[in-house]
Amino acid sequence: MTGKAFSHPRIRISGDRSFLVEYGEAIDETVNEKVRTITELLRKAAPDGIELILPAYRSIGIVYDPLKTSYNEISGILSRLEAQMGEAVIPEPRTVDIPVCYGGEFGPDIEFVATHNGLSAHDVVRIHTANPYRIYTIGFAPGFFYLGGLDPRLHTPRMETPRTLVAAGSVGIAETQTGAYPLDSPGGWRIIGRTPLKLFDAARKEPFLYQAGDSIRFKAISPEEYTRMAEGGQK
């Protein structure tokens, strides 16, 4: 454990039907991995009456029915799970490849990001695809991931005037963060590319391609590959 993890989780009451369990003080991979582990274990051990289990950066939100279970029962289970964490077997996090066509019409801001950081557009692609990014949490919009670990050489401020429409699949940078828009939406991120994958598709058997704790690896593709994959995805 690093110094950023609490030795005992901190509980925060969040209304008559929910509470938050915090495992550390910072956005930190060790703390986030603990959140992922406890979430996986709790999903299996959840007593009747737990309605939602919501992992975030360093905390888990739990929604329960106070007529079926109690705060005391759940916190007892959580302590037990924490004690078992060492030998618990949970699925390994996955690394999910997300193909991205960088620059051009799909990435209108790539030159801005390059110039801002004294790089070429080619450097931006090379650095952005160099390492996988951990998904710390998902929220705000369906399938919208909060990723860690953007290389400081790519940090770029948001647009002063957000666009009224950013196309679904757009991949961008905002300050120290990188991410992707799962749906068409307004937005102020600097857009450097676009993926042909549907990051959220309610009609698909699995509406999402990843979950919190997994890693995302961006892979550069050509406009031809983009077109081919986008058409393939629509079948």
């Binding site: 009451i13 969040s14 209304g15 929910s18 939602l52 919501l54 929220g139 369906p142 509406p207």
Partner: protein, 317 residues
């Protein structure tokens, strides 16, 4: 499935809502669902449905519907002027409508959201376990959007009532709204403002929707040294978050995560009152402990069970 209504006027914001979509909140898909659970369930019971069938959630006013096949309807929640073929009908009771009738839902005299239930429930495709419309995610209901002119609404299977039904008791909504709230989750950021928050009236602004209600009133300031924001954490229905301008926002059902500190959380049995609040109404927060809140919750659930029992055909043996 039976074609039951043609939308001749949609109203400003009418959506299909059921209890909500619970399987994907951790994937950024909010629960959605009827903001006023109580009126929603009552409307269903009044037409003989199970209490969790899809209904229309009507905001302030509208819609106008042409009836395409006979059905029972009931409007519960906000006190809206409802007319069938121009003749006024009452809310919180079942009304038989026949093919060729026109239903017109007028403006709410009090309250903000009405729930129109129909025999069998509004039938729309199930999306990820729910009929609820989530407009910013463009899923659920009718193509993930509010009603439009020309929409045809179908209903599910269900028998018409043998006898009309009425609600034995229902809430009245007024401009002064008292809600109970439990301090936290970040109550220790607001120690010096806690008394102020629980003493003054907060006015509902026109920035009030299914995501949250922005309030106006005395600014709630963070204690000296308390952080401006927090590491983003799960948002809960009823959380009262305080952005840097100190004007509280009550979070409703279309948000999953957020980074503003929360001073308090409105208890479940009082959330329907917030759902029915209108811009200009005053909200008064009253502190309760978790134990007190659980007692109130148990009573509230019992009240819901009593109403359900009232509508069970076997009652009275």
């Amino acid at each position: 499935m039976t074609e039951t209504f043609r939308v001749s006027a949609p109203g400003p914001y009418t959506t299909v809502q059921d209890r909500g979509r619970f399987g994907y909140v951790h994937m950024g898909v909010p629960v959605s669902g009827a903001l006023d659970d109580f009126a929603y369930a009552a409307a269903n019971l009044l037409v003989g449905n199970a209490e969790d069938r899809p209904t229309l959630e009507i905001t302030f006013t509208g819609p106008e519907l042409d009836v395409l096949s006979d059905a029972d309807i009931a409007l519960a929640g906000a006190e809206m002027d409802v007319a069938v073929n121009g003749r006024p009908v009452r809310t919180w009771r079942s009304v038989r409508v026949k093919q060729g009738d026109r239903i017109a839902v007028g403006q709410a005299g009090s309250g903000c959201r009405g729930y129109l239930a129909v025999t069998g429930g509004i039938a729309v495709p199930d999306v990820m376990g729910s009929a609820s419309t989530y407009v910013s995610g463009r899923i659920g209901g009718i193509d993930g959007r509010p009603l439009q002119v020309g929409d045809i609404l179908e209903r599910g299977p269900g028998a018409l009532l043998e006898n009309p039904r009425y609600m034995p008791w229902f809430p009245l909504y007024g401009p002064d709204i008292h809600v109970r709230a439990i301090p936290g989750p970040q109550d220790e950021y607001f120690r010096e403002s806690m008394d102020l928050f629980f003493s003054y009236a907060y006015t509902v602004t026109d920035k009030a929707n299914r995501m949250g209600y922005r309030l106006d009133g005395p600014a709630v300031s963070r204690d000296p040294g308390a952080p401006k924001s927090i590491i983003s954490e799960p948002s809960m229905h009823g959380n009262v978050q305080v952005p840097p301008d100190g004007k509280p926002i009550i979070l409703m059902k279309e948000q999953t995560i957020g980074g503003y500190a929360k001073i308090a959380t409105v208890i479940t049995p009082d959330l329907f009152k917030v759902a029915q609040a209108r811009p200009g109404d005053c909200i008064y927060f009253h502190p309760v402990t978790l134990d007190e809140a659980h007692g109130i919750y148990a009573d509230w659930r019992q009240c819901e069970a009593d109403i359900r029992h009232f509508f069970t055909p076997e009652r009275g043996g």
